[in-house]
């Protein structure tokens, strides 16, 4: 546990020294502040639109961070050979790998918490409305980001960062549209498409389940996101992340450095 903490904290320190981290964070907050200036925002549904746009921006920011950090955090250590100084110490490779993953999760948690505080204060100042429900959407964004991070980290062991980023985006898109589209293709497509769609349908997580932005944006007036929903989503994210992390640790333990 001690070593996991050391590696995780090294990722946090590393992120704090990267300009790209601050650029993404500041840009996201700036855009959130600019949402009320949108022409459509002055038509009457300002709060819903504000929440929807803020959550959309936060989703993009979190996924960019998750994918970039996942694709580069270990790859950079390998490429620059800083990993020689680490793995030659009395540490196990799985400790390094999981520590780095936890570090990315810490950075994401910190960033999302910051955005939550800023958005809640901003919504309160602008609309005199205290809106802690946003935390639920941010939590599911965090869960989804954990799956994306574990996948990009695993891919980064053998592929270049650019290819990893491309694959992660592809995974994100397919795993979001898979529900209806793949189901239809699986039942109505040609034989090859049926097999391919069936394979993707059963092997990929349905990430659309994590998307509760719209429900939260509308103040949970139509649907409510209860504690049980969040627990199930947490278990689902944990299961997928653990499987991918296990594969990643296995591949990393066999990789020559």
């Amino acid at each position: 546990m001690r070593l996991l903490g050391i590696f995780a904290w090294s990722v946090v320190e590393d992120a704090m020294h990267r300009k790209v981290f601050y650029i993404i964070l500041v840009l996201t907050m700036l855009l959130i502040f600019l949402i009320p200036l949108l022409p459509s925002a002055q038509l009457g549904v300002q709060v819903d639109l504000m929440r929807d746009a803020a959550l959309g921006l936060t989703t993009i920011m979190a996924f960019i961070l998750a994918i970039i950090m996942g694709a580069t955090i270990i790859a950079r250590d390998i490429e620059r050979r800083t990993i020689y100084n680490i793995i030659s110490k009395p540490v196990q490779r799985w400790q390094y790998y999981l520590g780095k993953f936890l570090g990315i999760m810490l950075v994401l948690a910190f960033t999302l918490a910051l955005i939550f505080v800023v958005t809640v204060i901003f919504v309160f100042a602008k609309f005199h409305l205290f809106d802690p429900g946003l935390a639920k959407a941010l939590f599911t964004i965090f869960l989804e980001a954990s799956i994306l991070t574990s996948l990009t980290m695993m891919a980064s062991l053998y592929l270049s960062p650019l290819v990893c980023i491309f694959l992660a985006i592809l995974f994100y898109v397919v795993a979001h549209v898979k529900g209806d589209y793949l189901y239809n293709l699986m039942n109505n497509g040609n034989p090859f498409a049926k097999v391919g769609a069936g394979f993707l349908y059963y092997i990929l997580p349905n990430l659309e389940r994590f998307n509760i932005n719209e429900t939260i944006a509308h103040g949970e007036r139509v649907f409510r996101v209860g504690a049980m929903d969040l627990i199930l989503l947490t278990l689902m994210a944990a299961a997928f992340s653990c499987i991918i992390l296990y594969l990643g640790v296995y591949l990393f333990s066999r990789r020559d450095l």
């Binding site: 590393d14 050979r81 800083t82 020689y84 100084n85 793995i87 110490k89 009395p90 196990q92 020559d256």
Partner: protein, 310 residues
């Protein structure tokens, strides 16, 4: 004397491209490093030196063969607690300061905070970077980073130190400094495995050498044993023999203009001695010639290449 590292019939091959055939980086390597010894690992580029070091540190997985560390088979985290490693051209996160970097590595060894701080002061003093302790590493020259590499390798007071090109990037003063550090470590009983292209460095510091070529250990032993030539002899005279003008066997040659010493091959030794005495020469000493490490190294690598080609 205990054996700190024993490598037995180690093999490792790599594929250089996806479709290219596998190439042997190490091909049946055997090697031993004894406690308190400084062993120099020599070899031409691509001989398998770095792959050997990486195998010992568990950075690469050998295809076959065995590695024993401190008497135990395999490379456990427990064994690595007693080891320090300086990679070739070490690179660190440049936003860190020497103090933070050493603190981080100290924590990886599980050292107590107070022990880490004491060790940091000692090491920064040892490598001459005390004044730069809180400067970020992006201001450091290549030589300073190399010294930081040595400091991090020593953070846990290792019993066994593995150094890959420790003098790389250092100016002459830096090299002398490193040599001094290694001699201090030898006096303290640290076992060192040192890979270097600088033959003079190996000859100055090491007790023994192992020459690797094409992934095999082609010669190893103490420097005294290896450099003593069985083929060449040196004859020293008490007085210069200026008047003597010829008739020596073909392999005999004067060492210098002064004509007080002769080099000669073993098969011509008796004939040369007889000629010298017949011409009034007074023999002071006859001894096996000690080769320079460079002569020996070139000789062994060429012999190994000829054997492989045959």
């Amino acid at each position: 004397m205990t054996t700190v590292l024993r490598i037995e019939d180690l093999k490792k091959s790599y594929r250089t491209g996806r479709k290219s055939p596998k190439r042997d980086a190490i091909n049946g390597l055997n090697l031993e490093v004894n406690s308190g010894q400084i062993l120099g690992l020599l070899g031409p580029n691509g001989a398998g030196k770095t792959t050997t070091l990486k195998s010992v540190l568990d950075l690469v997985s050998p295809d076959s063969g065995n590695i024993w560390l401190f008497g135990n088979k395999g490379i456990s985290a427990e064994a690595r607690k007693k080891m320090g490693f300086l990679p070739e051209q070490p690179y660190f996160e440049l936003y860190l300061t020497p103090r933070k970097l050493l603190r981080y590595f100290g924590k990886l060894f599980g050292l107590e905070a107070s022990a880490i701080e004491a060790r940091i002061s000692h090491l920064l003093n040892l490598v001459g970077l005390t004044e730069e302790a809180d400067l970020s590493l992006n201001r450091f020259s290549k030589g300073m980073l190399q010294r930081m590499g040595i400091a991090q390798a020593l953070i846990s007071e290792p019993e066994f130190l593995i150094l890959d090109e420790p003098s790389s990037g250092l100016d002459p003063m830096g090299k002398i400094h490193i040599k001094g550090i290694l001699e201090d470590l030898r006096r303290g009983g640290t076992t060192i495995l040192l890979s270097s292209h600088q033959l003079s460095e190996i000859e100055d510091i090491c007790d023994g050498v192992a020459i690797i070529d094409r992934g095999r250990n082609v010669a190893s032993g103490s420097l005294d044993e290896l450099l003593q030539s069985e083929e060449q002899y040196e004859i020293s005279l008490l007085e210069p023999l200026h008047d003597f003008s010829g008739g020596f066997p073909e392999s005999a040659s004067w060492e210098d203009e002064e004509k007080r010493g002769l080099n000669v091959k073993r098969e011509d030794l008796n004939a040369t001695l007889k000629l010298l005495m017949e011409n009034g020469g007074s023999i002071a000493e006859v001894r096996q010639k000690r080769l320079s490490l460079e002569e020996y190294f070139i000789n062994r690598v060429e012999t190994s290449s000829e054997r492989t080609e045959k």
